[in-house]
Amino acid sequence: MTSLADAYASAREHWQALETSPVPIFFVGAATCGRAAGSGDTLDRLRAEIKARQLQAQVIETGCLGPCSLEPLMVVHKPGTPRVCFGNVGPAEAVQILQRHVLGDDPCAEWTLGSIGSASGNGTGTFSDHPMMRGQVRRVLANCGLIDPENVDHYLARDGYRGFLRALEIGGDQVVDLVRRAGLRGRGGAGFPTWRKWDTCRQTGADQRYLICNADEGDPGAFMNRSLIESDPHAVLEGMLIASLALGASKGYVYCRAEYPLAIARLKGAIAQMRALGLLGDNIQGSGFSFDLEIKKGAGAFVCGEETALIASIEGRRGMPQPRPPFPAVSGLWGKPTIIQNVETLANLPLILRNGPEWYAAVGTEGSKGTRSFALAGKVKRTGLIEVPLGTTLRQIVEEIGGGSSDGKPIKAVQTGGPSGGCIGAEQLDLPVDYESLAQAGSIMGSGGMIVIDEDTCAVDLAKYFISFTQNESCGKCPPCRVGTRAMLYLLERIVEGKAGIEDLRRLDALAVTVARGSLCGLGQTAPNPVLTTMRYFRDEYHAHVEQKQCAAFVCRPLVQHRIDAERCPGCTACVKVCPAEAIIGVRGEPHVIATERCSQCGSCLSVCPPAYAAVYRVSGELTRYEEIHAKKGKPGAPTEASAQLEAQSEELDQCS
Amino acid sequence: MFEITKKREVAPNVHEIVIHAPAVAKKARPGQFIILMVDEKSERVPYTLCDWDREAGTVTLVVQEVGQSSRKLVLLRAGDQVAHLVGPLGVPLEIERFGTVALAAGCYGIGAILGIARAMKAAGNRVIAIVEADSHYLHYFRAELEAAADEFIQTTIDGSENIKGHSIDVVKRKLENGESLDRVIAVGCLFMMMLAGNVTKPFGVKTLVALNPIMLDGTGMCGACRVAVGEQTLFACVDGPFFDAHQVDWSELRDRRVAYSDDEIQAVARTDVAAPRRERAHARTA
């Protein structure tokens, strides 16, 4: 076992060596999001190229830097120059960058996002000045994308475990005080003040206490915790050490969902490294504090993110929540006082201990201190994992960081908190993002998911999507959730199918109340939130679906009819050939007609109609929606290359038949 | 032996069984019934003839599992045989051009009125078929009845689909609205048929109901199926099964029907080991 002091020394050396490396280093983002974008191929190609050229160079796989829409990301260390971050680096681009930038002098500006550290001096700005990064304050995510998550030296070199060592120095009581003064609130959903949660547990005079890190992250579209664990696992584990010290817990579990294999692998590796450094086990670093850690994999149940269900799962029982009291802090795992903490909450602890509560509380609002990560997704130009001070407005996030609407259409709403949260209408974009403001607006901060929608998203369809999720994940124990969500789903389906009457809206309202008030646990209690908020901000959409059989977003297929504009249609027969229901009648050269009673509303005709004609349009209720004509060259309406090809094909086929 | 050519559960606990019985199919008329024995040791049980196909030589029954014998029957599948089948029994319904005929039905009755509806329509009547079920999932034969009748109305007791309420509520509303009904025929449980009679009596509309007393020989000898209709004691097998609703002694019929309930329950209750084994074997090969 290496002594910690030695480990720090060698880590610093190692890190320095990297900083001043005389050979090029390619840091490629290879966490799950990067791999999903193809960084695996990029890595293969890069390595092959390096080998082929017999180059002296290092390739390091890192975690996620944040701008997921620009993945694969690659940071290049070219000796003698500031490091540069490149985006959209596929295999071909990686080779280009190697050739032109590393071996040559070309800055490869077309992929450059910015330099890391100081300005590059050649005109490209710094990465932190990139419009997506500018409004962010990356504290918890500071290491992500910049270190090799499997190399503990990197973590140690950047002050890893200093927070824990400080905690050992000052003792559990002081740690609690620091956390109280920092104002840290739980980042899992409810936002309960962390120190107070710990206090309840500390005050039980039990012989055994447990700390559980909740890495179940079940919200669809949420990936904050996954990203953090994959990119910087030790940040979370150090947090667990600190929390356990404060609580007097001698055993901890990381409950990680089985759908995160890379995160689990990283955790396993990190835990082994901790053990080797003497940071786990009996009498850690001679302090008298003993603590050990185990990973417990989830098994595909969203409900196991709920505290009592999670505890049941670890105990080997079916994950069904229990009524509370007793609260887990008093009687939890195996009947002992247990604290369950979110991944991000824990990752904040090393920062508080290292930098002090004043530093921590300098950012944020009165009631919501510190920063918070969000998984920004949806109809914005720049999606990814961001970290901002609490109190940042939705507008700042959506427009500045996110770059605004991805296709120029006005933003309709922002959905926060996943299936437990709600839609906040665009008129509230200046709302500061903090616990209280979001709650007042009818939503919740939740785990950090943030989905931006525009007019092409139907609010009713969105609510239906979330309800079908919660209905599927309901554990089945209590009728309000198990049956209530199914009943709400039934009504929502009738609404989107155009079969609902006005009394169905009243029934939906009443059911939402019954489910919210009657359910046993948070899953059921918050399941109606998407419905309640969309009915609050977009009630007119619901009414339009019911009264005019109209879907303004043209999403709800049963309410949308496809038609052909005779004035625009030149009769190219592209749609006739592609219609699976054989519902389009038309001869070459004559305007085609869609037989509505046969039409299945699949939309194939719409997608195949050449943009030069844009003859297929849609009708829903009283609304009509035409597509824009995009003439490529010559007069408006002139055939494009694509449509000419189609025409040629059609002629060929006609000649054959 | 009589082969089952088609068998399916059309609604929970309601089974459609089509049996090859050419001699019966040839002579079957609306309102009649058959008696069958599943095997050599079975009870003789009467079932209404819901439909028949004279060319194919088949008869259609709609059966609900209510006891040991009906359970044996509904456990059979297409290709299995029924040991004995005799019919058609009972007095056929009068089929003439009456004008407007309303058929009210519930439970197995929904199947029972199919053949009647066709015949009434063929005779030139305007046929209104009104079917009721506890809930939407208990309705069946919708397409068949819609085709056979001029007007088809569905009700559900719990309001889960279409009109909330009973079929005879619809009949009552029609009569109250002045619609002229020349004949009402009701087939369903005792309670429903009793209500049918109560509803139409003040309006003086002739109402026929299919009575279902216990029955043994079915040819008028044993007297088990006697029912009190007005001043008379008649036999359901040879004088019925359809009788004037306004004259039936309902409480007597109800009491007589449960006279052997203890034995019937014993028959079902005595753990019939063979049936569960058969069912399990069925489930494995199904």
């Binding site: 409900v303 069904m320 229990q322 009524p323 009291p325 209905q471 599927n472 994940e473 309901s474 554990c475 089945g476 209590c478 009728p479 309000p480 198990r482 049956v483 199914r486 009943a487 039934y490 109340v513 019954t514 008030r517 009657g518 046993l520 209690q525 | 929970p12 606990n13 609900q64 209510v66 009906s70 509904v74 506890d134 809930s135 999932y137 208990l138 007791i157 719990d158 309001g159 889960s160 309420g165 009973h166 449980c189 005792l190 309670f191 009793m194 309902w250 109800r254 203890d262 019937e264 079902v268 209750a269 005595r270 753990t271 019939d272 080991v273 569960p276 084994r277 069912e279 399990r280 489930a283």
Partner: protein, 538 residues
Amino acid sequence: MQLNIDNQTVTARSGESVLQCASRHGIAIPRLCSHSSLPAFGACRLCIVEIDGMRGTPASCATPAVEGMVVRTNTEALRDLRRGILQLILLEHPSACLVCDKHDLCDEFRPAAAKAGRTTGCHTCNNKAVCDVRVLADELELTDLPVPPVYRNLPLERSDPFIDRDLNLCILCGRCVRICKAQHGRGTIDFVGRGSQTRIGEAFGRSLSEAGCRFCGSCIDVCPTGSLADRYAKWYGAPSRFTATTCTLCDAACAVTVHTTAHERAVAARGVDPRVPICVLGRFAIPEFLNGTRRLKTPQIRVGSRLRDVPWQQALARAAEHLRPFVGDGFALVCDTTNTLEDRYVLYKFTRDVMRSPHYIELQPDARGVSRAGLPDGVRAALLTGPFVDHERLQQLDLLIVQDCYATATSELATVSLPVAVLSEVAGTWVDGDGRMRPLRKACRGPGTAKPDWEIISELARTMGETGFEYESAATIARDIGAVGARLRIRQTEAPIAATDPSRRRTHFRGHCLDDHVGGLSELNGVEPALATAAVGG
């Protein structure tokens, strides 16, 4: 400690829940999943209340009573919420009858449920007479449902012994799962699946027998709907009488409550203490055994090669006539200890004083309940109370009189065959395996004109001109022999060994193989049922 519930000051015991405290003070809170024998589960969400200082609507069953709590159990808001929750429960349970506008009229016309394969409403539900859900629907004034209900059409589970299950009626209160775990510590059944697919089942689709079910019937006892039912008793509705007596199928002598119908037919037996299970024999075998179709119902005498039904007087006269020549040690009487003390006293007295024979043979059944004996060499006439002796030996006798409950190969050999009332058809005193006296109380009528053993023998003695056999009742005999102070064995803590270990369960009673007369048992023991054939067992 003191609480305020609905403006009433009540005193709570330490460890009590709000629900328990309220119940004790006569404050009724609607509930479905809570049960006095089970720890709180908090699933049905009907027992919700408002408590000052607590968020939302906590479940009173799972909330410990705390000093100074202010609780409201019946506000308008709570009633509305409960009604909404009950409506949701009823979306997955055939509920049309509960919202039918002719509900009362129909109940009046035909109060009892009619039997059916699948239950599609209260009218065909085996639970109608005792259903908690119906009571609740009434209490909460249910009139309609918010969306169309769903019928899941799950297969009926009718192929396990004794227990019928219709999962389409299950409201997922979890009581069955909980009581099985509480009483047996094993998860024979549990919640399976989730969301709308949730149901109760065994792991890996096994049957109950395959999953190791002990068939104690406790799950049926706690099920609030007709979902779990005792196949034998389910269509009899509410029993008209409950009689606490002792099960004499083995020497554990568990106290059982026998349920009888208006026709005095025993249809079910249950353990007296709901927290402690009894074995499958006490729970399920008694009614089937008593109601078997091959019970001896009338006295019979041999005429030629056949046995003919005759009235008692005639049979006893014939028996007396045949017995007289064998007074002395050529006669033997064989019985076993399944007989009551009263029976055995009278049987002994008859052998000693009337037949003046030393051969009173009282058998002690072995661990499996089998009683077998030989007859001493000089015996040429015998009276047996069961098939205890080899057929060959019996064929050598000049006279055989049998008084028994079921026809057997033995009774087929008899000159006179007399029908006996057994188990809960008789009153008396019985001795259990620890030598303690237990009371038997008469719960139901025997078949035909069957009588208890002591009564038959007493009448026989009197027919033979003897005095000293004028007993009016078993109680009279009990007083005579000093069999007083018998107490029911109500087990407070442990289940009888036969309930947990099937290999320790008896297979025979009074010489009869129980498998032959209780179909579910033969199924359970993997034996080919004798019921299926016409063979007469022995």
